[in-house]
């Protein structure tokens, strides 16, 4: 029978099934999200009011660093790969990913990589404490001994991501059902395809960076040490050459998700499909020539600063096109507001706010006032939390009926949404103000003039943290005892996964390819 699957622990260890692997990625990323979130709670507790109440500055730095690393590499990236695994084969009518064994391996590397990274808390000198950007020489000459474990951990995550990306590219190019031309693919598949190319381009650069760190630390090179003829600024150039595309790696798949959900609940086709594809591709291309907008204060030549300022502002144009297309999709639609739609709408609004502050940060002469303050923390949380995280959340609510055959409780979903919406803004909006007022980021204590907004942010953060536990409960209740879902749970949904498969989708799907017209 097609729905036969192995049981027990070995099912998960040896599995090459894209659905199993997708689920493991999603659960893994949720666990990492809770761990990284717990660290955020420590940060916000310490920043609740002026003075040092709970942790020493050195531990505070470990918290910010590990929070950033875990959220970026452990929560957001794997969640996107999890969605890709579940959805891409079903959306293009393929039986599985093209390289299933590699798929198994790219997942199973991750628990080891993060155990290694987290174990650094137990080491002498503690966990990495140099920020998720690990600028040299703070991370080389001055890094704690656990830095070497961090380097190994990053290498492992990088290998995992590159394998995941290769798998997506090979699958999309070779496994599409007959008739599924590239320009017929759902936008989620397109955004992931482009993301996969970004990953293949930049993860090796990250690997190179940490390798140079390793040789600087132990083998007498001085890539990043001025005393030996190297250059600490070169570190930043290389890091951000990876780092800027990385932020698009985290957000493009979420663009894809909302481009599926908004049409479904507007009961209207996505507006400007091909311009969406081109906009995504131009965002990806531009993302390679804007990296130094993170470095306006390092003392670049004016010509360089002008170039990076203008190139960065240009990215606002294709990004704007996407936002306008989403709005036009809703325009004159027939809208309903189920939980996935609510999260998608919040995505569009709040991501746009993050985009506004992004344009502000791109303006080099004013960026001198914003750079490395809480204004930046507000900016990137607006694109990451209501962006990447809300995107994944919307996807989970939207496809859960297809994945599990069970419906979540709509009231719980809506409660989760409204709590998230209120707390995410309560947490991160005040950070704009404390940043503008002059509060630097990555500090454990501050002057009283920043006290009000920090207190609001902390209260919001505790609420936001608890809300995620509520999310977990909602999902578990749905899986355990949710109402049975229909084959096409959402009347406006389109795509092979809704039209050609029952709910739950059987363990093996599309053993014979569907016909796409």
């Amino acid at each position: 029978m097609s729905d036969h699957h192995p049981t027990g622990i070995t099912r998960w260890l040896y599995t090459t099934n894209h659905k199993d692997i997708g689920s493991m990625y999603l659960w893994f990323s949720f666990i990492m999200f809770l761990i990284g979130g717990a660290m955020a709670m420590v940060i916000r507790a310490e920043l609740y009011q002026p003075g040092l109440q709970f942790v020493q500055p050195e531990f505070f730095n470990q918290m910010t660093t590990m929070h950033g690393l875990i959220m970026v590499f452990g929560a957001v990236m794997p969640s996107m790969v999890g969605l890709a695994n579940w959805l891409i084969p079903m959306m293009i009518g393929a039986p599985d990913m093209a390289l299933p064994r590699m798929n198994n391996w790219s997942f199973w590397i991750l628990p080891f990589a993060f155990t290694l990274l987290l174990s650094s808390f137990l080491m002498e000198g503690g966990a990495p404490n140099f920020g998720w950007t690990f600028y040299a020489p703070l991370s080389t000459t001055y890094g704690p001994p656990s830095t070497d474990f961090f380097i190994l951990g990053v290498h492992m995550m990088g290998i995992s991501s590159i394998m995941g990306a290769i798998n997506v590219i090979v699958t999309v190019f070779n496994m599409r059902a007959p008739g599924m031309t590239l320009m017929k693919m759902p936008l989620f598949v397109w955004t992931w395809l482009i993301t996969a190319f970004l990953l293949i381009m930049v993860m090796p650069v990250l690997a190179g960076t940490v390798t140079m760190m390793l040789t600087d630390r132990h083998f007498g090179t001085s890539f990043f040490d001025a005393a030996g003829g190297g250059d600490p600024v070169m570190f930043q150039h290389i890091f951000w050459f990876f780092g800027h595309p990385e932020v698009y790696i985290m957000i493009l798949p979420a663009f894809g998700v909302v481009s599926e959900i908004i049409p479904a609940f507007s009961r209207k086709k996505l507006f400007g499909y091909s311009s969406m594809v081109y906009a995504t591709a131009s965002i990806a291309l531009l993302s390679f020539i804007v990296w130094a907008h993170h470095m306006f204060a390092v003392g670049m030549p004016v010509a360089g600063e002008l170039f990076f300022m203008i190139a960065t502002m240009l990215i606002a144009v294709p990004t704007g096109v996407k936002v306008f297309n989403w709005v036009a999709t809703m325009w004159q639609g027939s809208l309903t507001f189920e939980t996935p739609m609510l999260f998608s709408i919040a995505f569009v609004i709040l991501f746009t706010i993050g985009g506004f502050s992004g344009v502000m940060l791109a303006m080099a002469p004013v960026d001198f006032q914003y750079h490395d303050t809480y204004f930046v923390v507000a900016h990137f949380h607006y694109v990451l939390f209501p962006g990447a995280i809300f995107g994944t959340t919307a996807a989970v609510y939207y496809w859960l009926p297809k994945w599990t055959g069970k419906m979540y409780n709509e009231t719980s979903g809506k409660i989760h949404f409204w709590l998230s919406m209120i707390f995410v803004n309560l947490t991160f909006f005040p950070m704009h103000f404390s940043g503008l007022a002059g509060m630097p980021r990555r500090i454990p204590d501050y002057n009283m003039m920043f006290a009000d907004f920090n207190m609001w942010a902390s209260i919001g953060a505790f609420g936001l943290g608890l809300t995620q536990v509520y999310f977990l409960v909602t999902i578990i209740m749905a899986i355990r005892g949710g109402k049975k879902a229909d084959e096409k749970q959402w009347d406006g949904a389109t795509g092979l996964e809704w039209d050609a498969l029952p709910s739950p989708a059987p363990y093996h799907t599309f053993s014979t390819p569907p016909k796409v017209d």
Binding site: Q49, E58, S266, V302, L306, M360, Q369
Partner: protein, 383 residues
Amino acid sequence: MAIRRKLIAGIASSLSIMLSGAVQAVAEMNMRPGVTETSIEAYELHMLVVWVMVAISFVVFGAMFYSFIFHRKSKHPTPATFSHSTKMEIIWTTIPVLILIYLTIPAVSLLIKMEDASDPEMSIQITGSQWKWHYKYMDQDIEFFSNLATPREQFEDFNADGQTKGENYLLEVDNEMVIPINTKVRFLVTAEDVIHSWWVPEIAVKKDAIPGFINETWTNIPTPGTYRGQCTELCGKDHGFMPIVVKAVSKENFAKWVASKDAERLAAEEAAAVAVAASWDLDKLMALGKTAYDAKCAMCHQVDGSGVAGAFPALKGSVIATGPVAAHMTMVVDGSTGGMQAFGKQLSDAELAAVITYERNAWGNNTGDTVTPADIQAFKAGN
């Protein structure tokens, strides 16, 4: 118990902050215009972008909310079928381009102005090191360190016993940078160890201090006043505790300040000579040594000499602090590539002698060695 006390203290102080904060808050939620020509222009540009973004959001979010209200299923049961409009797509590509050009023009001219450090009237070299700033006036014979002046007791609040915090909590230093008004001052910014960043919001100057490289920036302050800022690049444990204070004074007062600094330096040289000639016994060295150690070394090696595992070695029972004196002197005077700063110029000879003596005898190190200012002088001469 401690946690409960903390919570109660926290809630009580929260309430009082919220009440008093309501009044102040209005002022502390936006960028400060600052006092220099460039800072004011940066502020104006900031406000311009803010309003442009607010305007765009009215249009975009307005259209969205219009849809939410009038195109909901109950009001608009049959969806339209359009999914493409070349005309609209051209419009909403062109308009953003025009808006961006409108924003770029003032940004370019301001950026060029901010980066033009030519023709300065005086220069100051700024050097960041873990966790203090050093200012060296290139045209005067003045240099000094600028350390956080807020006492530890004010910020350490682990048992809800922190002292009342002063108005300039964490934004006050022992030696301020003093500069004359209406003078183009060039800053040459660099660092000793890791990257730091020198930022004073009210003059809109932020420049990274990078070891091995010198960055240039400048200011010209028209109004006397005290302007406060902080390090803005993560630089290790006490990154949050290395503030910057710039005091702008009239040219006459600046001349007076320079003269007082000259006098201070002469006095210090004299005192050093006296110290070398004076007789030093263990007690006297230990007393001065403890003061100097607690002020300059304890932040890394800890008051009890136990260090921080994996980052700063313990001095209690350490090989260097109990081994040959010469190696100990080299470490403290010249520093090491492994992260120990050179204190040769940060402390007087008497303080160096005292701090080394202190380390060799405190916490059960009991070597019985004494190092005198004369020894330090001889050591420095031999270098």
